[in-house]
Amino acid sequence: MTRRFDIEAIMVPFLAVISAMLVGMVLTYVVTGYDPFGAYASLINGAIGSPSAIGATMLRAAPITLTGLSVMIAFRAGLFNIGGNGQAIMGLLLAGVVGVKLGALPGASHWIVALCGAAIAGGLWGALAGFLKVARGAHEVVVTIMLNYIAIRFGEYLLGLGGPLQEKGSSIPASTTFDTNAQLPVFWRPDPFTEVHVGVVIALAAATFAWFLIGRTALGFQIRAVGLQPDAAEYGGMSVTRITVIAMFIAGAFAGLGGAVATLGELERLQKSELAVIQIGFAGIAVALLGRTTAFGCLFAGLLMGALDSGAVGIQNDNALPPGVATKLIGVIQGLIVLFVGTDLVFRRLSHRIVGVFGGHGAAGMVKS
């Protein structure tokens, strides 16, 4: 239960980030010819240079931290949840329904109910993939990808012209605006345009909850056992079937929350056109990978990715790079980070395999015998 402090676990993501930033810097100069130092100064300024920059970073970090936790929990149970997007969409749809249809809920209870509903909707969507895996042997990667599309199409039906959620009499495929009580309360306004809402607190709480769940509870214990060694878990009297479904429910719930936080915190209404461009589920995969599939790792990775996003805005605002290049550059850096973290795993597995081919034990773990 107590893990030794593993310097490598922190070093690898750190090095990946540094290398990606350096490569990005070189690319900026070689490709655009602009001053990379100026661009990076704007990036850092836009990410953490002022209270409003910090607020923007936190706002961008919240949803992807939640979807990162989603990928993390599933991964710990030995499952690869590609379905964060679909689960997030189901979550935000339900949050939207609560937000526009249940106008009568008093005060804070409205957004709390909306978020709980989102968690349950996302959770059920995730659990469905878990259920299909244990009942039918359908691989969760394939199933969750398909469920992503189903969720998008379902949302497009709800919000499309004449759909049950579309505003009556309007020609725009969108819902009516959310009830003010359903929108996430703002607790910090560093400037008039930056409204930091409770979604940030929810992400922080979710990471703490996930850490506690995985490391300290009997359920987390079972999830880890099932993920590491299903045969041993079964021998230990755990139901691999049950744990798989539960883990996918929890994973889906985190993603659903992520979807709802992004929606009720940032938007005024649900729009059909938004559904297909939601990417927070996929961003969650990058976050979980960079965070080494630990709860607080996801929190830091989410913050970092959020900082890069708001840094892109900083570059644009300062005109440090031509319009359109900033977001592309940030995309490249984020991609490189994932690539470097990923190739590290590949490298390690590769070296393991090379040693294996020549007949080696995992030497590092051998203390005795």
Partner: protein
Amino acid sequence: MQAPADDAGVRADRQNPPVDPVSSSQPILELKGISKAFGDFYANKNVDFDLRAGEIHCLVGENGAGKSTMMNMLYGLLEPTEGTISMDGKPVAIHGPRHAIDLGIGMVHQHFMLIPVFTVAENIVLADEPTQGMALDMKSGEERVRELSDRYGLRVDPTSLVRDITVGQQQRAEILKALFRKARILILDEPTAVLTPQEIDELLKVVRQLRDEGMSIIMITHKLKEVLSIADRISVLRRGEMVGTVDCEGQTEQSLARMMVGRDVLLRVDKGESIPERPVLQLRNLWVKDERKLDAVRGATFEVHAGEIVALAGIDGNGQEELVDAIAGLRKIEQGEIVLDGENITGLTPHEISEAGLGHIPQDRLRRGMVVDFDLRENAMLHDWDKPDLVRFGIIDRGACADRADMLIEMYDVRTGGGSGSRAGSLSGGNQQKMVIAREIQRDPKLLIAAQPTRGVDIGAIEFIHRRLVEERDAGTAVLLVSLEMQEVLSLADRIIVIFEGQIVAEFEGGRVDEERLGLAMVGSADAAGGVA
């Protein structure tokens, strides 16, 4: 067997002609004053060792004695803290497995390093593939594998997929891999642990033949009988230090065992008469299928009483594994019923059966018995994630878990690198097994199933485990021992039942059957079958 040109430089030193075993007095490999420290802990301390050309040199020692550490240094996986390794009289630093191979050292690990979906030949030529231009030339690869396999009597079909062949054949493929890379020194790490008795005989024959062809062989093993039958010389390690190297001539199991543990060892189990009481396990006409959906257990009926050790004897693969899995709820029961202390447990979940009073030491501790990446505290609570003394309101009481693990470690003398916080996978095999046994016995089961409890375990630990099993029996537990070792069955069992092709074919009273009759029953011979001695 020509080497590609670009690699010729590396290969030159591998193509030294085999040293003539008679004229050479200089050891082909020598370790002088080798130490390996992990922090304060010395896995090897000031070890001297030499291997002569063309000898079989057995390395014996308890689990945790430092044998694998020593071999890992030879194979370049670990670097010695002190001391020198010399080959042919010249000091060498071995940088890694690839380098070790280039130097002519081949190693066959206890757990094979083969890719299941590749053919035997593909596995063997891997990383050294024969090519024609850019293309892989598997035909000539297969040809060369076949040549080697014929020459050394290592029978295995080069075109079979590794996953389709037996463990014994996989091992032969591993040996062929070393031969293919022109090893002059072959290290075999517990090669017989995974083999059936017939396969063991065959392996020993092959090893002798390799020696006669000039190969120098280091063999690590726990089984003293094998050591005595095959070794030219024997080296004994104890707690990281070399106790001594002796000629095999004139040694006995007792003398070797004494060197290994530093005191006299009981090779026969000291136990009193059993006093069987009520039946605790009752199987009635049990049918179970294996992975291939074939009947593996066919109508097994027997009982195990409180206070007796019943051994289920049989050659590997005759349905023992499926039978044990079915009792533990890990495998579906097609027909029949199982009663545990009066309660019908047929079709219950593993959790319910374990609650009903089953303790189970599984055959495969690395797959089932423990989560290798969990620490010992977590492994100590593997069954008990819902017990109120460890988990309250779903939250694990970490102090209580640590206390339990510490207690098990203390009581069963489990040697760890870092106490109960050690990763299970970092323990040696014998200590892992002690931990599993400790956990299962401490749960105070009514029925204890011990499936090959001493497999891959050193002699000191075997004695300890046997004593514990007898103590459990004397405390009124029903013990079902599943073992492939005839010696273990004969020395421990109060009653022996023999399983052959899924059926119970014979039953003997312990102590009143000899090896020969038991052996005949195990191979399904009609002469022995049905006879209650």
